[in-house]
Every structure is written in C-alpha cells, then in structure tokens.
Amino acid sequence: MTDLWPRIEGLLRQAGRSIERPARYLNHEWGCTYKPEASYRFCMTYPDTYELGQANQAVRILCNCVNAVEGMAAERAFLPAADMCDLMRAEGVPAFSLESCAPVAEFDAVGITLPHELAATNVLEFLDLSGVALRSVDRKESDPMVFGGGPCAFNAEPYAPFFDAIMLGEGEESLPELLELHRRMKNEGAARAEMLHAMAKLPGVYVPSLYDVLEENEAQRRGSWVVPRFDDVPSVIEKRLWEGFADSDAYEPMIVPFTEVVHDRLNVEILRGCTRGCRFCQAGMMYRPVRERSADNIVSAVCRGLADTGYDEVSLTSLSSTDHSQIEQILRRLNRALEGKGISISIPSQRLDSFGVDMAELVAGGKRGGLTFAPEAGTQRLRDVINKGVTEDDLFGAIDAAFAAGWRRCKLYFMIGLPTETDDDIKGIASLAQRAYDRAKKAVPENQRGNVRVSISCALFVPKAQTPFQWDGQISPEEAKRRIDLLRRSVKYRAVDVHWHEPDVSLVEAMMSRGGREVADVVETAWRAGARFDAWTELFSLDGWKAACEACGVSMEGIAQATYDTDYIPPWSHLSAGLFVKFLQRERRFAQQEKTTPDCTYDTCSACGVCMGLNTAIQTQEVRHG
C-alpha cells in the first residue's frame, strides 16, 4: 500500500502552526495493531475528527475482531479536521488510514459507523476526500466496498444510497462474516453486483441498491416503503445479536492516544442492553436483551486493562451501569484493588432509582466531579408517560446520599417537547430542580452550602425510529423557545442555572431520524453546498440545510413535526430491532393513558418480541431487584 506519511508530514511542516493539533494524524500510539503482511485490508472509520472518534467502542471492538482473523488487517481512519481537509484537497492528498498511512481507497473495504444523526455530511466529506464515488451505484469495480453500521442503521434510509451494504445490530460476528464473504468472492473474481447480491442474503445485512423505493401511498398500502428486486433478498432485515457477549473477556484491548481525546480513559463494557423501557430511548429499544458480564470478569479486565494501558481512570460503561446486579460488589472489589494508586473509577449517568447511600460511597473513589442524573421530565405524570420510572423520592434520596458523601455539584437532564407535555410539566422542571437544590443544601455542612450547585440541562425531544414515540412529531423551534423561556422564568434560584441546546440542530436531527430515502438527496445537496461537521456548533448552519431541502423539494418541518397514527408504516419498517410493532403501538397507547410498563429483568415480560423473535434471553449474573 502507498505510504502517504512523507507527504502528510510535509503538509504539516509546511503549514506550521496553521494546522491545529498535528497529533491527530500521527498514529503509532501505544496499543495499535499493525499487520502489514495481511492481504485483506479493512479500514474502520469514525466520521469525525480523531479526538471525537478515537474512544468509540465500535471502532475499537470491530478493529480487534477483524485483526483477529487470519489474513485480515483492520486500520482506523478519522476525518481530518476542517483545516486539514481543505489543505489536503488543495495539495491532492487523499484521506488516509492511521496505522500505515495508506489511502483509504486502496483498502478492500471501508466501514463507517453512523454514531448520531449529524454525521451524514461528514460521511460524504470522507468519501469525497478518499476519492471514492459517493453513491453505491456509481462505484467502480476497483473501488473499495463501503459498509455502514451503528445506531443510525436502524433508520438507514437517509444514508442508504451512499453505502454498498449496511449492517444492523452487533457486528462482532457479522462483520467478519461479511468481510470473509467479500474476500472469498473477490479472490474468485466475482463482479461487484454479484458480491452485493450475496451480501444481501447474510442475516442482518441491508443492501439498499437491491430494493426499489415506493411512494408514500403505495408504501402505506403495501406495508413497506421498499420492495426487494429479487426473490432471494429479504423484505425485512433483522438486527444481529452477539450471543457471546456475556461470556467474553470484558477487556477489549485498546489504543492509548497521545493527544487529548474525549472519554480519554480505560473503558470496560460491563453490560449491554437496558429494558427499563423508557419510551423515548432508542438505545434501550435497539440493544435488547439485557446481558451482564460477571463481576470476576469485569474486575479482572479492569486490572489487566490498567496495567496494559497505563490509564489513571477507568469507566464502567453500559446504558445503565448502576442496574448491573453485581454493581456494588464490582465497585467494592475495584476500590480495594486500586487503593492508593491515584486511579479513579467512573460510571456514566447513574440511574436515580438505583443510586443510594452505598452507591455514593462506592463511586466516590477520590475524584468527585459533578454528578449527573436524568429525570427527563418535571412531573410524575409526564415521567409515567415516558415510562421513566423514577420518583421524586428517588431523586431526593440520591441527592441526600451524594451530597452527604461529598459531592457539591449536580446536573439534571431534562427533555422539552415530550408527547403530551403541558406548561405545568415545564414549570415542574423548575420546581423539581429547586427542591433538589434545597435538599442538597440541607445534606451539606453549613459552611459549604455556598458551593452547592444544581444545574438544569435541557434538550429538545427528537422522536427516534424503533421507539414507541416514533410516530410523534417534534415540536416547532418557536414552541420550543416559548417553553424554554417559560422554564427560565420559572427558575427563581440564582444557584440553579439552565442550559439549553440550540433547537436548530434538533430540527435537522429529527429530519435525519425520521426521514425516508428522499432525505439522502438533501444530505448530498447540503454537503455540496458546504455542510460538514454539523455536530460542531461553530460549523453547523441551519440555513444551508433549509436551502438543500428547498432545492430537493423536501419539507424539513414536515418530516420532523408530523404526528401519525400508530398504524402508519414508517420509512424504516423493513429494518427491525426485533421488536413487535404491536409492542410499540401498545406502549404508545399506554403512554397516552399515563400507564407504566415494568422492567422485564426483574418483573414480568413485556412481550417486546426480542427474546421470542431472535431466540435469545436475558442474562443477568444475579437476581435483579427493582
């Protein structure tokens, strides 16, 4: 493979201080795998800069999986920062992988994870910089295959034309399968079209070019927006589940970056899935069933991981780590094992109802930054609607425990624009936060009360595919602004501040989340007009997106804000997370009735369809208690 390093080093030297953070492009980090002799080469990409993508779990896990296959090598690639992209274009230097600094276009296959709804234009920027045709139909026989995956695959339609194949669900087994098929057929001299057809028959693989897209009326009539062009291509693609997760080694070898990146710590995944059943939460719906790794596995993995990497911080990650049936044991054992080494243990956003005095002590571990909790809604009524089974007592109990144990700052996450929300619910947020502040102050010695801070962080609700709220429209930016102003006015305490995500971005997110195939044209038009790095506030432009929508005859508000009956067929109905539609419809009905559904890991089964349909089961280490 071509070594682009001399040219890239030259660019960096020549540009001097005008190219920021050259360490993004250096590679040679501790822990990276270099398999120059492997004949099949895969390039795993995160569609944003190194510092945002390096810690990504999918990139880490999938590179390890592919590198474990004999004769296959996986290298990482990230999107260079905007300044470097421009310089590379001007100098004719293509996008490159990190490990061998080879042009992305020279790889056999390129995998791009779709981590959130604002990455689409970056995908195009990356493909363009690589010199690979944007659309699958325009690719040459010599172009690499371009595969996609990750959370946005569950509504893949806005990305569909740009990918040769999209993988649904967990890729630990399905990616090596897909690459193995590609390698074999490529060695046999198969044509691209032939290979794509074979790929479409692999479980969990969606090959968009093998489907015709229907108009809305026809789609509603037929029960699907796409029709396979061949009989042997499935009409519904179901997600893949990795059965081996719970028993596999919790230590996933990782690379230690030189430059500062987000989530720059050892990351040990302690469990997958969450069945609390919050009705807005796509992750909770996508990653079922719940599967826990054992305490022995996790403790051992943390110790080995710290020794291997030299990190001073470890994060026990999952969707809801405090729900792990052995979490207290795990934390106790780790606190003991790591005593006196200046190493801190962190747990991402704790669930309020499993955070008590014990937990507060255990998660302490020395460095006490801020604590975050997510009540999501300000009144019990609305929390019941969204099925976030958390009460005021849970919140206040957690606050009592945390602030008595030494915390001084607490951030509370809420959403604005949830289905059935009223002004009373908005005022409820202010009331809840202020009462939480009062509680916090009481739990703290008098001379430290001045340090107590409670902050409210609000985001606009984005309806997501594969959730019971997928049929609900987003509220308009004007209405969102009105509600946020109401919230601001309702918060009287100076020590409680309100942070608010710009609603502009949420509008585009909603369009990408709920849109059909027509949105792909909008994405390309927006990119051609200069949109990229949409997740970066300083580079996002709503006007650019609006202009692209107009040019393509697509209504952004129409897609984001329309509310449908639950018998409406959404544009992603051919992509399945294993959930029965009846389950989603029933949950939406219950929401309207303010009725809650319990967590099946410790209560009755809610017949969501995953265990039955995918022939799998919940795996907890010990009995969970509500």
Partner: protein, 232 residues
C-alpha cells in the same frame, strides 16, 4: 515515607516530535504506570503521580537528552526500572538512562537552562521527502549539497524578532538568548539558547525568522544537549 527520586533520560524523535509538552507529559505518565513502577501519589483532593518534567519543547522540536523525574515509594534497581520503562514505551519516546537523584539536585524543569539545538535544513522545493524517520531514498538527496551548505553558512541572525504573546506584541533580541555563535555544519545549524527567568526565545521561532525569504526550511529541529552552565 521513603522518597526515591528517579531521573529518567529519554529521546523524543520521529513523528512524535509533533506532540505538545502536555501530550508528552501524559504519555510519560502512562508509560510509568505500564512499567508497573511503585510511583508515589500526591495526597489531597486530586491524587496524582508525583512526576516532574524537564523544560518544555515546542511542537515540532524533538530532543535526544530529555528528562523527567518520578518519585517512587520503594527502591527499584535503576537498570531494572529502565528495562521496565523501555518495555512500556513507544519507540519514538524511549528512555535510555535512569539514575536516582538526591533532594538537593535542582528540579527537572529548571536544572538545565542552556539548550543546544541542531536544525537540519533543506531547499524549499526539495525537502519534503527527507523526513526525520523515513529512510531517504537515493534520489531524495539534495541536488547540490555544496550549494546548500553555502546557503546555510550565509544565514544571519536577525537583530530582533517580533512575537505575539497574549495578544500583545513583544520584541525579542536573539543576542540576549544566544550563547556563543551559531555553527553551520553542512546542511545543519547548531546553536545554544539560554532560558531566562524573564522568558525564552523558542528555537523554532528563531529559525523561522532566520529562514524567511532564504528559500530554506527546517527538515528537523532537535535539542541535542541540555546543560547547567554555558560552555559545558
């Protein structure tokens, strides 16, 4: 508690010269942990490893004799400590000497105020293939080494250099910081700068000012020596 202060000498080369000082510090801290050395941890609210670093190098400048000190709670034979560190280090950020120092030895960051740098230069239209870590092929050698050496020897140190610090312009006089004359050695330039309490002149800033308009650029800049006193 017993206090063993290990001074480690390492080289920073290849593409890792592009790391910032903070990035190097972080990388070295992690190497110490990977080496499983019994490092001391500070007391207090935010416990951290007791490690101290030598004078910072700007981004793009490497060093062959860089130092850091780490405090250990137990005595580990220096060669054993060095072996473990080496096994846990990236090739381009590699320790090669370790010895214990006593309390009276000056702190790493101020121990050696006199730094000698060596910059390898090249003509502007040729240079980029010749980088510090890639093996140069025969046809990337400068077409006329003699001409290059002549151009290097004719370089002059500017009287003053204007830098922008904290949004304010500051005028630095190179002769205040240069110790002795610059030495031209073929395609390389060697010079010694003194770090003063009132501030320093960065080697890359000095070179940039010197090379402007000369048709030359620096292919690599390395700190090759750090000394306590001038002329050592």
């Amino acid at each position: 508690m017993a206090d063993f202060r290990l001074r480690v000498t390492y080289a920073m080369s290849g593409r890792l010269v592009m790391l910032s000082h903070l990035e190097v510090a972080r990388a070295l801290e992690r190497a110490v942990r990977r080496a499983n050395l019994p490092y001391a941890v500070s007391q207090g609210f935010s416990p951290h490893m007791k490690q101290a670093f030598g004078a910072a190098l700007p981004v793009g400048v490497g060093g062959t004799e860089e130092i850091f000190d780490v405090q250990l709670t137990e005595y580990v034979a220096p060669d054993k400590a060095l072996d473990r560190l080496r096994a846990a280090s990236a090739a381009d950020l590699m320790p090669y000497k370790a010895c214990y120092i006593t309390k009276d030895v000056p702190a790493a960051s101020v121990a050696y105020p006199f730094s000698t740098y060596r910059a390898v230069l090249a003509f502007d239209d040729e240079g980029f293939a010749e980088s510090a870590d890639s093996s140069s092929s025969a046809d990337s050698a400068p077409s006329d080494f003699g001409a290059l050496a002549q151009r290097v020897a004719s370089l002059r140190v500017p009287e003053s250099i204007t830098v922008v610090r904290k949004k304010k312009e500051k005028v630095l006089v190179p002769s205040d910081f240069l110790v002795g004359a610059m030495q031209a050695q073929g395609d390389a330039l060697e010079f010694t700068l003194e770090a003063k309490k009132t501030g320093s002149l960065r080697p890359d800033v000095l070179l940039e000012a010197m090379l402007e308009g000369t048709g030359l650029h620096a292919v690599s800049i390395m700190r090759i020596r750090q000394r306590e006193k001038a002329g050592e």
